[in-house]
């Protein structure tokens, strides 16, 4: 089956540094990818490049086998949707109005949102626990509620491939898990690519991992192959240790090893 997303020899510059250089990536239905890397390495830039809203320096990106550069933007938006790191709201709009904009790529230019679109939006708001807030102004919500509203908007967009830029931003622990559970429950017939800062969430919710290391180097593979102490310690430049918990490994920053010793030792 054709992968949903393919990147071929992709190079992306972010802030004068390479986020990736000659990256080959293939994301198929049912896969859940985690992207990890230090701050400023270019995770967001890569993600924006993958859905065609950021210029790439070289290479090609294909959605369902077709080059994204040759696709209509609306068409691409039905295949791939993006959860942004932060949302902007300069002007007031209600929670329902905000969720409804996710329908944009599905509604022909000359039509209005139908009752069916509204039903889809209400359903998504219910799924993220924002029922009853439809008439509230979005800019009066708390940071975590806004995050869930952004997720609802993405659920309303209903793409086949979800690109999630730090989906757990602003969320408390329970909502982090609820959000990722919700996304994972949809992953069977979709695909997820998420930028995460917590290797434990990657361990729990991802089956494949892409590490952005430095100077455009990347490392990818299955969770089992990639997520380990050596790789993570190298990635973060800080000793990472694991313990085995009842449901898998638990990663943590190991204070007992001095960071200076690590550079000499593991790398």
């Amino acid at each position: 089956m054709t992968p949903l997303l393919e990147a071929h020899q992709l190079s992306v510059l972010a802030g004068g540094k390479w986020a990736c250089k000659g990256l080959d990536l293939s994301v198929s239905r049912g896969e859940r990818w985690g992207i990890l890397g230090v701050n400023g390495i270019g995770k967001t830039s890569l993600m924006h490049a993958l859905c065609g809203i950021r210029e790439i320096q070289s290479g090609q990106i294909r959605l369902k086998g077709r080059p994204i550069s040759e696709m209509k933007k609306r068409e691409a938006a039905r295949i791939v949707g993006l959860l942004f790191q932060d949302s902007e709201d300069h002007f007031p709009s209600t929670v329902l109005e905000t969720a409804l904009i996710g329908r944009h790529p599905h509604i022909p230019p000359w039509q209005r949102e139908s009752l069916e679109d509204e039903r889809i939006a209400l359903e998504a708001l219910r799924a993220v626990g924002l029922s009853g807030m439809e008439r509230r102004l979005a800019n009066t919500l708390s940071g975590g509620e806004r995050r869930r509203l952004a997720l609802a908007t993405l659920l309303v967009q209903d793409p086949e491939l979800y690109l999630l830029d730090e989906p757990t931003n602003h969320l408390d622990l329970r909502h982090q898990i609820e959000m990722l559970d919700l996304l994972a429950s949809r992953a069977a017939e979709k695909a997820l690519v998420m930028i995460l800062h917590d290797p434990n969430l990657a361990e729990r919710y991802c089956d494949r991992i892409l590490l952005l290391i430095e100077e455009g180097q990347t490392m990818q593979g299955t969770k089992e192959d990639i997520l380990n102490e050596a790789n993570l310690s190298r990635l973060y430049g800080y000793p990472i240790a694991t313990i085995r918990g009842p449901h898998g490994r638990i990663f943590f920053a190991d204070q007992t090893v001095p960071a200076s010793g690590l550079k000499a030792g593991c790398l």
Partner: protein, 313 residues
Amino acid sequence: MKSGKKLLLALMLVAAASMVLALMSGSVKIGWQAIPGSGLDHELLLHLRLPRAVNAFTTGALLALAGALMQVLLRNPLADPYVLGISGGAAVAALSAMLVGLESTGTSIGAFLGAMLSMLLVFGLSGFDRHSRLLLTGIVVASGWGALITLILAVAPDGELRGMLFWLMGNLDNSSSPYPGLIALILGLMLSLPLSRDLNILARGDILASSLGVSVKRLQFSIYLICALLTSVAVMTAGSIGFVGLIVPHGLRRMGGHDHRILLPGAAFLGGSLLLLADTLARTVVAPQQLPAGAIMALIGVPLFLYLLRRKP
């Protein structure tokens, strides 16, 4: 009926009422029977009051519509139609035309060209890559025009000064033709309404809009051109009238008009009504003397806007 449609309907009624009020008010009492008839009343109503009322309404509508568009384009709630130095450019050209002794038609055409020139200048200098740069370029260019205006006023002969000052304050009594304004308003609404849904999304950020399938660059360029047309015609018709373009879109948003499908036509109706009422007051309060409509507009607008701002949405 949904609340947006109700709002729009109410604004249409307000517009109609202010038009009736404008036509009925004046130093001579005229009844409706004058419309089909002939004679002085008929002349007065159809050839003096009506064109002026139409001009006031369309100018207010053009500015409010342009303001609503400009605020989304720059995603800055402080943007108004003049923010890109448009009124300054128009004023410099219009005052220069007065200085060299051109009549009102020449002044109007000068204003139109000056507004267009200023927009092109700001656009050319900043491009579209950064909103902050576009806005800042506009503000800096506007300051430059401000300096030129001061210089022109300083060297202008005394006889011209009063006309110039009135032009700068916004003036509707030069009885220019109502057609350019009407055509620009209809054209502006026809061009911008189909973009409304895209605008709703653009208001939430370029990259979000882009990820939802909006062709952002093309949309921004279209808004820019529409704004240029609307504002230039407004300036040509009535000089520079501040305030309408800034407060009308905000007022409507606070009344629940978030959706641009309601906001754009709503802004046209409300902006038109406000300026028409202001102009009616301007020419009747201390008749036969006429006050500058722009100043009256601000006098009505300030308390109204402050009230809206304090009211819970």
